[in-house]
Symmetry: C2
Amino acid sequence: MKRPLVFSLDLELPEPTEDDKRADLERVADALGADSLVPTISALRTLPDILRKKGFRISPVFSVHYGSTRLIETNTGSCFALAVDIGTTNIVFELVNMKDPGPSLRLQFKNPQIKYGEDLLSRIQHCMQGGLKELRDSIIAGLNEEIKRAARQAGITTKEIYAAVFSANTVMSHLLLGLDVSHIPVSPYIPVVSRALFFTTSEVELDIHPDATVYVFPNAGSYVGGDIISGILATGLHRKESPQVLIDVGTNAEIVIGTKDWILVGAGAAGPALEGGILASGTVAKEGAIYRIDIEGSGVVKYKTIGDSSPLGICGSGVIDLVAELYRVGFIDQRGRFTDSAPTVEIDGEKTFVVAKNDKAVIGINEREIENFLRSKAAMFTSLYVLTQSLGISFRDIEKFYIAGALGSGVQLKNAQLLGMLPRLPEDRFQPIGNSSLTGAGMLLRDASLLDEIEHIHSIITYREMNTDNEFMKEFPSARFIPHTNPERLG
Amino acid sequence: MKRPLVFSLDLELPEPTEDDKRADLERVADALGADSLVPTISALRTLPDILRKKGFRISPVFSVHYGSTRLIETNTGSCFALAVDIGTTNIVFELVNMKDPGPSLRLQFKNPQIKYGEDLLSRIQHCMQGGLKELRDSIIAGLNEEIKRAARQAGITTKEIYAAVFSANTVMSHLLLGLDVSHIPVSPYIPVVSRALFFTTSEVELDIHPDATVYVFPNAGSYVGGDIISGILATGLHRKESPQVLIDVGTNAEIVIGTKDWILVGAGAAGPALEGGILASGTVAKEGAIYRIDIEGSGVVKYKTIGDSSPLGICGSGVIDLVAELYRVGFIDQRGRFTDSAPTVEIDGEKTFVVAKNDKAVIGINEREIENFLRSKAAMFTSLYVLTQSLGISFRDIEKFYIAGALGSGVQLKNAQLLGMLPRLPEDRFQPIGNSSLTGAGMLLRDASLLDEIEHIHSIITYREMNTDNEFMKEFPSARFIPHTNPERLG
C-alpha cells in the first residue's frame, strides 16, 4: 500500500475484553500494522478518552518521521499538508487535502528576505553581520502569514495542517532552519548539513499543528540544493536506464544529467535569471504577464497575456519569444545588437524595442537586457554541452529533456532552439514540467516511500562546478551568439 | 562496541578541504559511524561555529532515541544521566557520570504523590476526580527538586544531564507522563500504552538538558510494570536456558519465573508491604533502621542499626529476623499469636513485643502486625508455589532465586526459610540483588543494546492474576501459618 507522508485513517478498533487486554496505543498500532508507532505525548494524553467517547471508532492522523510512524492526533475529520518550494525570489506552496486527490490550492509570494538582499550572496553577507535571526524570522513570519491566508481560502484552520515538506536551495534551507550560512560562500564551501531532516513544528516555529512533521529535502553541497533533488524526484530520471536531462532555470540555471546509477549536476553557471533579473519589464508568470509574442516584419507586435489581462510585464517564455522574433525578423543580429531596421525608441538613454504600454510604464527590452539574456542562455547551454561531453555522450544519446522552472511553462521549443538554448532534437524529446521542485515536494507528501528514492538520488549525485571549469570557460563565449558560432554544437 | 544510551565522544575531525566538502554534520556522522544520526535544531545551530572555534576537535553528546542516534549537544566536558526507579512509596535514583565507570551518587525520597493517597488505588481515584495534573505536577516537581539537589552534590549543573531512564509500575509510569489511569483498575484493566517510550525533556518537563532523552520502560499490562521488566533485565533470567525466579517485594510482591523463551509473572497478590506498611514502627532501610535482631530465651533483645545510629524503626530484614526469632524462642505460635511466655507490654490496647525505645516512641510489634506480616509472606510464598506448580516444575528445578526489593538487602536466608517465606533450598540458590528495578535502569543507561533485550522480555512475558486465582485461594490459608501447615510445600 502506498502510504503518504501524513495520513488520516478511519479505524474501527475492537473494544477491550478479558481476552484482549491490549493497551489503547497497542490497539491503534496493531490496526495500523506499524511496529514502530511513536506517539506524541499529547496524543497519548487524549487517546483513552477519545477512544471510549467514540466507541473505539476514531480517525487519527499519522505521519512518517525518519524511520517511524508517529501518532500525532487522535481524532480528526480532516488532514491537510503543505508542499513548499522556497526560491530565492519566490516562494510557491500547495495546500494539499490529503483526503482528496483533487487539485490543490496553490499560492505564491515574494520571499520576504528580499528586503535584506536580492541575491544569495547579499543575504549571506547580511547573516555574517548578525542578521541570521532576522532573515529566519522574516521567512517564518511570511510563511505563517501566507499559510494562514491559504487555510482561510480552504476554509480550514492552520491546526488541520499536519505536515510540511520544504524544497529549497541550500542557502534557503539553511536560513529556514536558522543555520549558519557563513561558510557556504567561502572555499571549500561547506554547508552545516546535507542530509534530509525531519523536525517538529515547534522546532521550526511554524503555525500549523503543534506536532506536525516538517521535512526538509537534503542537499548535495552548497551549490546543489534540495530543490534540485526534489526536481530530479519529479522527473523520475533516477529510475531510468538511459540518460535523461533536467534543465531548471530559476534564479540560477541548473543542469542535471543522470540515470538510475549516476547523476551529474552542473551548478553555479554564471548569468542572471530569466525571470525578473534580466528585464526591467520582467515578471513572473502571473495574471497580466506577456507569455507569447509575435513580431511582424513591419514591426507590429502581437502578444498574449495570462488571463487576457492588461499587460504587466514579460515572463520567461515571453522573453524567449521576444528575442527569437527580434532575431527572426532581422531586428537584432547574431550578437543581439539592434539592426538599423529595428523600430526602437530611446528610453533612459537606451535603445529600446517596445512590446506594450500600460498606465505606468513602457514594457520592452534594450540591448543591455538582450545581452544579459544571451549570457544566461549561453551559461545554460554551455553547462549542458560541457556536462554531456564530459560523459562521452552526445545530445542524441539523451532520451528525454525535462524543462523546469521559468523555462518549463509555455516556452515555444522552436524559439528556444532558434536561439541556441536547447539542442536541435525532435519535439518529443522535450517535456516541460513546470515547478519541478514543488512537484517533487508534493509527490513526497503523497508517497512516503519516495524518502528512499530521495536517499538514492542523494547518494549517487555528484556535481561539477561550472564557474571555474576550463571547458566551460572555453565554450561559453561562442554560445553568447545567436544561435552559436559553432552551430554543430547544437546537435 | 558497547554503546551507552547517552555518551560523549572526543572527536578529532578532518578539516574541510577542496577534496573533502562534506557538510559539518556529515563529518560528525561519519566519525561516529552512524547512518541514522539525527541532529536537534539547537545542535545544528551551534555546530559550525563550535567546530571552527575548536579546530574541529569537539566533544559532542549523542543519545539513542528509538532506532536513531541523536546529536543533542555539540561540545561539552561532561556527560551525566539519571536512572530512576519510581516506587509507589519511594523514589530512588542514581546520578551516573557517563564518563566515569565508578560508583554513582544515589538519592532516595518519598514519592510526593503520597499526600494524594498512600496506595495506587487512592491515587487513581484522585485522578478520576480531576487530580491527574496535580499528581503529575507533584512528581515532576519532586523529581526536579531532587535532581537539582543531586546535581549540586555532584558539583554539576542539571543541564549536564543528558538522559533519564524511568522504571516504574504501570500506574506510576502513566502518572509520570500525565496519562489517564482511570481504566487501569476497572475490568478489563487497560493501560494507555504498553510499549517502551522515548520522549524529549520538554515533553516530560524535566529540568535537565533541554534535548535530553527520556526513556520509560514498557509494561506488560496494568499489573506488570516496567519496574518488573527492568528487574528481569537486571537478573538476566531472560538469557537463561533453565528456569530462574525473581522475587521482588516492594509496596506489592511480584514473582517472576522465566527462561530465555518464556516469562511468567504472578501479579496482584494480596498483602501489605514488608516495608512501611506492616508495622507502625516500620521504616525503609536507612540510617537508624534496625536490620538485624536476635532474641535470647530470657527475652533480651539485641539489635543492629544501619550506621550504628540510635534506632528509628525496623526495616524489612529486621522484621523477618524479629518474627523468626519470636517464633524460634517460643514467644509466638504457628499462627503468630503471642504465647504466655512472651514478655509483652500493652500499648494502645495491643499486646506488644518491644524491640527498642527512642526519645519519641517505642519500637516493637503487636499481634495484628504479625498477622499482617504473615499474610504478606503467605501471599508471596503462595504465588511462588502456584506459579511453579502451574508450570509442572518443582522448586528444585529452579536454578536461581533472585531476591529483590525490601527482601533483597540483608535478609537472613535461614530466618526467611524458617518462616516459610522461601523454599528450603541450599543458600547458593539464592542471590540478593537489591533494587533490581533501579539496577536495570542503570544497566540500560550504560548499554543501549539492552533496548533489544527489553523488547525481547516484553514480547515473551505473560502474567497470571493471583487475586482471583482458584489455586492461589486454596493454598493461601495454609501458608499463613509458620512455616506452613503443609511443610512439604516448602521443598
